[in-house]
C-alpha cells in the first residue's frame, strides 16, 4: 500500500470527535489493515522505520527510568507493539495491553518470534485485567494525546496499583511549548469544526502530568523535557 493510499484509508477509518471516549471502537476501526494501523499509531510505516523509532523510545526509557534484564514490563496502549518488539529482548517479560483487539492482532503477528511477550486486550479504560504489585516497569508512550484527561489519570492510578513497590512508571505526551508540540496542535486546529476526528491529538502540560503522578501517590516524580519535543513524567512506587 502506498503512503497516499494508507493516508486515504486512514481518513476513511476515523471516527467523529464525539466518539472519542469509545476508545475500543475508534481504534478497532483504524486497525483494519496493518499499514493503516501502523500509520494511525505512529504516523509512519515500514518495519525498519518502526524499529528505528522504537529504539528512540527505548533510549528515552533507559535514560529516564532505566531498563534491566530482570524487569517485568507492562506497556499501556502498546498498539502494534512498535516498542514492545525490540524492548522484549531487553527484559525478562514484556506485557502489552491495548484496548483495541484489532491492533493486538497486528502486534501478535509482529511478536511471533518473541516468546517472552504477552498481549492483553483491555475491556475498558484501566488495567483491571492485571493483578496488583506485579510489574517492575509500567510505561505509556504516545497514548495520552488520544485520551481525555480523566482517562489519562485512570491509567496513572492503575499503574500505581499494578507496579510492585519500588517499580518505575513513565508517561509522556506533547506539550504546547515545544516546536513539535505546537506543530501537532496546529495540524489539529486545521480540521474543520465538524470533521474533527476522535483520535485528534491533545496536549498535556507539565503541571497536569505532575498532578497525576503526585495524586496517584508516586514518589521521586520528575518531569522530563525530551529531545523529541515531548514531555514525560516518571516516578517510583514507594516501598512498603
Amino acid at each position: 500500500m502506498s503512503l497516499e493510499e494508507a493516508h486515504a484509508r486512514w481518513q476513511e477509518s476515523t471516527s467523529a470527535l464525539g466518539e472519542r471516549s469509545a476508545y475500543k471502537r475508534v481504534w478497532d476501526r483504524q486497525a483494519g489493515e496493518f499499514d493503516v494501523a501502523s500509520l494511525a499509531v505512529g504516523g509512519f510505516m515500514g518495519e525498519e522505520t518502526l524499529d528505528q523509532r522504537a529504539q528512540g523510545t527505548i533510549a528515552t526509557l533507559r535514560k529516564t527510568i532505566g531498563l534491566h534484564g530482570e524487569d517485568v514490563v507492562l506497556e499501556i496502549g502498546c498498539g502494534i507493539a512498535r516498542v514492545g518488539k525490540p524492548l522484549s529482548r531487553l527484559c525478562l517479560h514484556w506485557f502489552g495491553a491495548d484496548i483495541s483487539g484489532g491492533m493486538l492482532g497486528h502486534a501478535a503477528k509482529r511478536l511471533k518470534d518473541c516468546p517472552n511477550t504477552t498481549l492483553v486486550e483491555l475491556a475498558t479504560v484501566g488495567l483491571q485485567e492485571f493483578p496488583g504489585d506485579a510489574f517492575d516497569v509500567v510505561y505509556c508512550t504516545v497514548v495520552f494525546m488520544h485520551l481525555f484527561e480523566w482517562d489519562r489519570y485512570r491509567y496513572v492510578e492503575e499503574a500505581m496499583r499494578v507496579l510492585r513497590p519500588g517499580g518505575r512508571a513513565y508517561f509522556d505526551n506533547f506539550p504546547l511549548d515545544s516546536e513539535h508540540g505546537w506543530q501537532v496542535f496546529s495540524q489539529g486546529a486545521m480540521y474543520p469544526l465538524a470533521n474533527r476526528p476522535a483520535h485528534l491529538s491533545m496536549s498535556s502540560s507539565r503541571e497536569e502530568l505532575l498532578a497525576y503522578m503526585t495524586r496517584a501517590g508516586f514518589a521521586e516524580v520528575v518531569i522530563h523535557d525530551l529531545p523529541n519535543g515531548l514531555i514525560a513524567a516518571t516516578g517510583r512506587k514507594p516501598d512498603e
Partner: protein, 235 residues
C-alpha cells in the same frame, strides 16, 4: 549463599551474581503470577475473544463435517439406487426377449463384478464418539490417519480399535489423552484416555470404511461405517 573466599572483589562479585539470580527468580515468579491471573480471569477480553473464535472455528469444522456426512449418505443412497438399476438391467438382459433383441445389436462389453468384501464390517454399536480428522472427505494421499475419541454408551472399556476397509484390517492405537473431552463429559472410568488413532491405506477408487472397536476384549462393534472415495493426486 556461598560468598566464601579471601578476595573482597571476588566476594562482592559472587554476592552480586547471587543477588541478580534472586531478582530474576522473583521477577519470573511475578510474570508467572500475571499469566495465572490472566488465564484464570474472565476479565481478559483478548483471551476470551480468542477462546470464542476457537470455539466458533471448531463449531464450523463440525458443521462442515456434518454437511459432508449428509452428502456422503446421499451419494451412498444414489449409488445403491444405481446398483439396483444395474441389477434390473442385468435381469432384463437375461430375459428371453432381450436375447431375441440382442441378435440385432452388437454385444456389449462384459460388466466387471464388484469386488468381494472379505471381512464384512462388525455389527454396529452405540458409541459416543467424535473424529478430529473427519472421514468424510475425498482421500488424496496414499494413507490416512483418523484421530478421534469414543466410548460405548452402555459402558465397558474399548480394548482395541481398527479400521476395516473393504475387509482389510488396520490396527489402531488407543490411549490418547483427551483432556477437553473429559472436562466436558466428565471422567470416563472405563476409558480414562478415550482418544485413538488409526492409519489405513487409501487405494484409488470407492471403498467401504468401518471404524471398529473391541469392547471389553470380546466382540467387535462398528463405531461408524461409510463409503469413501480415494482419488490420489487429484487437486
Amino acid at each position: 549463599m556461598s560468598a566464601a573466599g579471601g578476595d573482597p572483589v571476588e566476594r562482592a562479585a559472587t554476592l552480586q551474581a547471587e543477588l541478580d539470580a534472586v531478582k530474576r527468580r522473583e521477577a519470573s515468579f511475578r510474570a508467572k503470577m500475571v499469566h495465572e491471573f490472566l488465564e484464570r480471569g474472565e476479565r481478559n477480553t483478548y483471551m476470551h475473544t480468542l477462546r470464542e473464535e476457537r470455539a466458533a472455528l471448531v463449531k464450523r469444522g463440525q458443521e462442515a463435517s456434518s454437511d459432508l456426512e449428509v452428502l456422503t449418505r446421499k451419494l451412498e443412497a444414489s449409488s445403491q439406487r444405481a446398483e439396483a438399476a444395474q441389477s434390473e438391467i442385468e435381469r432384463i438382459k437375461a430375459s428371453f426377449w432381450w436375447r431375441i433383441a440382442r441378435m440385432f445389436v452388437p454385444a456389449p462389453a462384459p460388466v466387471r463384478a464388484p469386488r468381494a468384501v472379505t471381512i464384512p464390517p462388525a455389527e454396529g454399536g452405540a458409541f459416543t464418539y467424535y473424529f478430529h480428522t473427519s472421514p468424510f472427505r475425498i482421500y488424496r494421499g496414499g494413507t490416512f490417519t483418523l484421530r478421534g475419541w469414543a466410548w460405548p454408551e452402555a459402558g465397558g472399556a474399548i480394548t482395541a480399535i481398527r479400521a476395516n476397509l473393504d475387509g482389510r484390517l488396520f490396527a489402531g492405537r488407543l490411549g490418547r489423552e483427551e483432556p477437553e473431552v473429559i472436562a466436558r463429559y466428565g471422567p470416563q472410568p472405563a476409558n480414562p484416555k478415550p482418544g485413538f488413532e488409526v492409519s489405513f491405506e487409501t487405494l484409488p477408487g470407492r471403498h467401504m470404511l468401518a471404524i471398529e472397536a473391541q469392547v471389553a476384549g470380546a466382540e467387535w462393534r462398528t463405531i461408524m461405517c461409510t463409503s469413501i472415495w480415494c482419488e490420489p493426486g487429484s487437486p
